[in-house]
């Protein structure tokens, strides 16, 4: 079994967000980029664990993005992925990314495709389900556990009001959430090895442009906090009732 792990390159959570070109573009200047946490901590680490347990033969990173995301890809290689593929294009939306993943996975015989639960940049939770739709594979969303035996995969996933255990046959697409694995820190050996691991750069297959971003704006902050004396709980309740009108 070969595993393809889709990784995206996102601004570090603590980044101050700014826009350029009349608020039509995200301003990358001075921004620290990281592997999307769900892709790294959960999808990639679980893939590596499966390979270490001899349940997978290869773990390949897959990324749609320009050359400036190479540092992010190297980090994934340092964690232990065997190799990486970068589709050389700025991804306009989730469907474009999904089309690239679907095509590559199909042509190169990847039978388990792992994505993160969502990117912390565009918060779509969309790419995994779209890949499955394009390839007509099952899609297990928000998986918190995954085990493989032969071609059968057993997963636990979040559902409304609880969770469920499901079984699927390969090929399969999974979106990975908290619980699936624990974060790892790359070690020196991994970092050295990553320098010589191959990153294959492929031009994008012609894609469909279904959506585009017209403009951005920063979310409005809150007006100043009203402080209430710690002894006057009833005052808070009155404010919540009369002023905020939420109780």
């Amino acid at each position: 079994m070969k595993i393809l792990v889709a990784i995206s390159n996102v601004p570090d959570t603590t980044t101050k967000i700014a826009f350029a070109n009349n608020d039509t573009e995200f301003n990358k200047a001075g921004v620290q980029f990281i592997i999307n946490p769900y892709d790294e901590w959960y999808a990639l680490v679980r893939a590596l664990e499966l390979k270490e347990a001899n349940l997978a033969t290869a773990v390949t990173l897959f990324h749609v993005g320009l050359a400036d995301s190479e540092a992010t890809i190297r980090k994934g290689l340092a964690l232990g992925a065997d190799d990486a593929v970068r589709i050389n294009a700025e991804a306009p939306d989730a469907f474009f990314v999904a089309e690239q993943i679907a095509k590559y996975a199909k042509e190169n015989g990847y039978d388990l495709i792992l994505a993160g639960k969502e990117t912390i940049s565009f918060n779509g939770s969309s790419v995994g389900g779209m890949v499955a739709g394009i390839l007509d594979y099952p899609f297990v969303s928000l998986a918190t556990k995954m085990d493989v035996a032969g071609t059968t995969v057993t997963l636990e996933q979040d559902i409304d009001g609880g969770s469920q255990i499901v079984e699927c046959n390969l090929p399969l697409v999974v979106s990975c959430a908290k619980g699936m694995a624990e974060q790892r820190i790359p070690n020196m050996r991994g970092i050295m090895a990553a320098r010589t691991k191959p990153i294959k750069v492929v031009e994008a297959a012609a894609g469909d442009k279904l959506t585009s971003i017209k403009s951005y704006s920063l979310s409005a902050g809150r007006t100043a906090c009203k402080f209430i004396d710690a002894d006057k709980a009833e005052e808070l309740i009155a404010l919540l009732h009369n002023e905020a009108k939420v109780i």
Binding site: P11, F19, I120, P138, D158, S163, D208, S217, A230, A233
Partner: protein
């Protein structure tokens, strides 16, 4: 032409998020000069009526196994049968499994997590959604002929009317399905209030400031008398003080209730990412420098162990007077 809305029944009721979606879809139908059709699995007469009151003119009633793949196929076929130009989902757990699959099958542009009503832009629709975990919003233009929009739960009010829908049975052709997911076991989350966190209008949440799981009695009591659902910060779930489904924030669930009460939570940016869409935020913290106060509407600087009992008393009094 029509607007198709995916609705769900949960715990014997039409999900609130689904009623929001029906309302929203009805508004878009008006905007486009057409009518709204809802599709629902295994609904009874009262539930069908409720969907009608939320604005749908027609309901496609489906019977049978509602796994995510069958649902996708049903919606795809319904969209074709109804010539749907816009398909509406809720951006909740189930919507995240189904909407992208349907969008990909129909080659329809998807905006996931809309926070405002769309506007017409030529042949396209402009739809606003949150990006960068709530730090910003972006307006997306959907260019494709068929458009899919999923709504961030609790972002739209639900209004009802005397409207009734015509109901027709809809039997999707499932014979072409090859992808299969077999459910082995379903586990339900114990406790945490009856209303699931993403739908809750009132949420009482606590963090590491509570010192240990044995102190959660006060938090639960406050939630209970308010009719609120309980939540927690990430370290609290990681240390198994609370179940992981209560974990809110960037790596947990994102919520936007009317009221979010944060007790002993510092207000780290990753926590705020999941809760800063709340309408009103109350913060209770011993540290007046806690970053959460900068994102709060109301604050109490004080020790949770003395403030909570007083707050519980005050809510009890308030509830007694209100009755």
């Amino acid at each position: 032409m029509s607007v198709l809305i995916y609705t769900e029944i949960s715990k014997g009721r039409v999900k609130k998020a689904s009623l929001e979606a029906v309302n929203y879809g009805t508004k878009i139908a008006e905007l486009l000069g057409t009518s709204a059709t809802a599709i629902v699995y295994n609904a009874d007469a009262a539930q069908l009526e409720e969907i009608g009151h939320a604005g749908a003119k027609k309901i496609l009633s489906v019977k049978g196994n509602a796994d995510s793949i069958s649902q996708s196929v049903a919606i795809e076929q319904a969209a074709k049968a109804e010539s749907a130009k816009v398909i509406i989902f809720s951006h909740d757990i189930n919507g995240k499994a189904v909407a992208p699959r349907v969008a990909a099958k129909l080659k329809a542009g998807l905006v996931a997590g809309a926070v405002d009503y769309p506007t017409i832009n030529g042949n396209g629709l402009d739809v606003k959604k949150n990006v960068f975990s709530g730090k910003a919003t972006a307006v997306y233009t959907i260019h494709s002929d068929v458009k899919v929009i999923s709504l961030l739960p609790n972002s739209f009010p639900v209004t009802t009317s005397a409207n009734t829908a015509t109901v027709s049975d809809f039997a999707p052709d499932l014979s072409g399905i090859t992808a299969k997911i077999t459910v082995k076991e379903v586990k339900s989350n114990a406790g945490g209030g009856n209303i699931p966190l993403p739908e809750a209008e009132l949420v009482v949440s606590a963090g590491r400031g509570m010192k240990g799981p044995e102190n959660w009695g006060m938090v639960e009591e406050l939630a209970k008398i308010l009719g609120a659902t309980t939540a927690c910060s990430r370290p609290v779930a990681d240390m198994h003080w609370r179940p992981h489904h209560e974990h809110v924030g960037q790596t947990g669930i994102a919520i936007r209730p009317n009221l979010y009460i944060a007790i002993g939570i510092s207000g780290a940016i990753q926590h705020l990412a999941g809760v800063n869409g709340s309408k009103t935020i109350v913060v209770i913290n011993t540290d007046k420098e806690a970053p959460f106060f900068k994102s709060a509407d109301y604050g109490i600087i004080g020790d949770a162990f003395t403030v909570l009992p007083k707050l519980i008393e005050a809510v009890k009094k308030f509830k007694a007077n209100a009755n």
